[in-house]
């Protein structure tokens, strides 16, 4: 297959993307190999787009920002050192781009406040089919400390893994696990008191 040929097969078709070893793929992509970059783009595009869409709730903006994520990522790929999660690195870029996007609209706002002020859970959750318990939990989440709130949202609404969250927030994976458990524990107490 020629060097610049990319093979993509849809899941429905039953095929799978023949992925080279991720390390060598990243290496090729960092040197400007369009085929390698395209493979990475195809692999991570949907999740990054979903992550952004939930936060901006606008298809065109989400598409533009997603494209921007990959442009930025490939530009800085050569300087990327060891990461906990390659995908988490993309989410970090995506998160920063979303924050920049909102910063342009809202001039003075704290980053953490912005992350929570977005209240993107309303964009994610299918309110029509949500149970009463789930509704209660989402409402109680707002009583958690900001850091715990962010991690719970990333874990259960964005469905990110601990390593991805850690990479995104520039924390250790242990820290994410511990914080998440504490958040669940607190949420449990709140839920019990609520009933």
């Amino acid at each position: 297959m020629p060097e610049n040929h990319v093979y993509i097969s849809t899941a429905a078709y039953g095929g799978s993307t023949p992925m080279a070893d991720l390390e060598s793929l990243i290496s090729s992509a960092s040197k400007g190999d369009h085929a390698a970059q395209t493979q990475i783009y195809e692999e991570y595009f949907d999740r990054v787009y979903r992550f952004i869409f939930y936060r901006v709730s606008h298809k065109q903006i989400a598409e533009d920002l997603t494209e921007e994520v990959f442009i930025k990522a490939f530009r800085s790929l050569s300087s990327l050192k060891a990461t906990l999660s390659f995908e988490g690195w993309f989410f970090r870029i995506a998160r920063n781009l979303v924050i920049d996007h909102y910063r342009k609209a809202k001039t003075t706002i704290d980053i953490e406040e912005l992350e929570n002020t977005l209240e993107y859970e309303e964009n994610i959750v299918d309110s029509a089919n949500i149970s009463l318990d789930q509704k209660r939990l989402l409402s109680l989440m707002k009583q958690l400390p900001p850091e715990q709130q962010i991690i719970i949202k990333l874990k259960f609404l964005d469905e990110l893994e601990n390593e991805e969250i850690a990479e995104m927030l520039n924390k250790s994976e242990v820290s994410i696990r511990v914080t998440q458990h504490r958040a669940i524990s607190k949420l449990k107490s709140l839920f019990k008191n609520f009933i």
């Binding site: 990319v6 993509i8 078709y13 490939f74 959750v125 299918d126 989402l138 458990h181 449990k188």
Partner: protein
């Protein structure tokens, strides 16, 4: 205790995420721990929160439009050559000035060539290499003109300049040939460069030491070379597009509208060069519809996705509503009704003969 619970919680959560039912997870990880059981139950509720459908994105592959930065292109080997080049040239400002003016046959020309060789080694992209060779051709041309038409008539330098010009023309032809952009237009340029290279080589070999510069033939060839370089610039070799990315997509067709096939977030343009196959048989765009499964190969050029080959792997004719057949009037079925037993004249029962009564029902339609 807290660490132990946190570890069990993490393991239980992982099991829930892989689809294990809650009772099984609780039995495995939180058998004797009510607190942990409550936490895992809560996590299970959160995991099952229904998510909204999001609109399908259109992928634009904009990263392919970005120029490849120099630092992304160089390999570690370049950093062996580069320091040597720096040592070679970092003498004096005057030395550098004279080096840039050197022409073929002069001592500093070797230094100049070494520097250019370094530049070429650091250029990996074929299109950028072709561009650089064209720029070097321009330099050789200027050098040749300076020795041919300058105040100092040195036949040896003139012959060397022509030889250098010939060699550069040949190298440039090769580089343009290797370039992937504008291949149709490049073929003329390649042919012209190869031709002028031979002519200049011949001139150089046969250069009369006293008449090289006065030869109208020499002037004509040099002028011709100049025109070739200008034409190359005009045809767009100097604005080389990055090699198109070839993509193959397989799957079910989402829609076909005019000459566009929509499949898995791609909108593929079909043109007169697109080939269609149904199995091994030739086919056309007409055979592609919403129920087809295809394998499509194409290129992304600038903003467009252009289909080059389409293989229809599963072709289903769109279901057609069966034509309603004209409803026919059916003839009424004769109803056979037994009549009363007739009695013959001799009072013997006659054989019963059924009387056929033809009813005149309202015409019935076939169901």
């Amino acid at each position: 205790m807290e660490d132990k619970r946190e570890q069990l919680y993490t393991e239980g959560l992982t099991s829930l995420k892989t689809g294990a039912p809650l009772p099984a997870v609780l039995a495995m990880f939180a058998k004797d721990d009510t607190e942990l059981a409550e936490e895992l139950t809560l996590a299970s509720i959160l995991l099952s929160i229904p998510k909204q459908q999001i609109p399908r994105p259109i992928k634009a592959f904009k990263f392919t439009e970005q120029p490849i930065s120099f630092w992304n292109r160089v390999s570690w080997r370049s950093f062996v050559i580069a320091p040597l080049a720096v040592v070679l040239f970092a003498t004096t400002a005057v030395g550098v000035h004279f080096t840039s003016k050197a022409t073929a046959g002069q001592k500093l020309f070797v230094v100049k060539k070494a520097y250019e060789k370094t530049q070429l080694a650091l250029t990996i992209n074929p299109e950028s290499k072709a561009q650089l060779q064209l720029e070097l051709s321009q330099k050789r041309l200027q050098e040749a003109e300076s020795v041919l038409y300058g105040p100092e008539k040195n036949p040896k330098l003139q012959a060397a300049a022509l030889a250098e010009l010939s060699a550069q023309a040949k190298t440039t032809a090769e580089a343009v040939k290797q370039s992937n952009a504008n291949q149709d237009q490049n073929s003329d340029t390649v042919a012209s460069l190869e031709s002028i290279s031979s002519e200049l080589a011949s001139l150089s070999k046969n250069a009369d030491t006293t008449t090289a510069s006065s030869s109208s033939n020499t002037a004509a060839k040099v002028e011709n070379f100049k025109k070739i370089l200008t034409a190359a610039k005009d045809t767009g070799i100097t604005h080389l597009d990055p090699a198109p990315t070839v993509i193959t997509v397989s799957g079910k067709v989402q829609n076909v509208q005019d000459n566009i096939i929509y499949i898995e977030n791609y909108a593929w343009e079909v043109n007169e060069k697109t080939t269609f196959k149904l199995g091994t048989e030739k086919a056309s765009l007409k055979e592609v519809n919403k129920t087809s499964t295809i394998k499509l190969t194409g290129e992304k050029k600038n903003e467009h996705f252009i289909a080059t080959d389409v293989i229809i792997t599963v072709a289903e004719k769109p279901t057609e509503t069966p034509k309603a057949e004209p409803k026919e009037k059916i003839k009424p079925t004769p109803k056979i009704v037994p009549t009363s037993t007739p009695v013959s004249s001799n009072n013997e029962p006659m054989k019963v003969i059924s009387r056929i009564i033809v009813e005149d029902p309202t015409p019935q339609y076939q169901p």
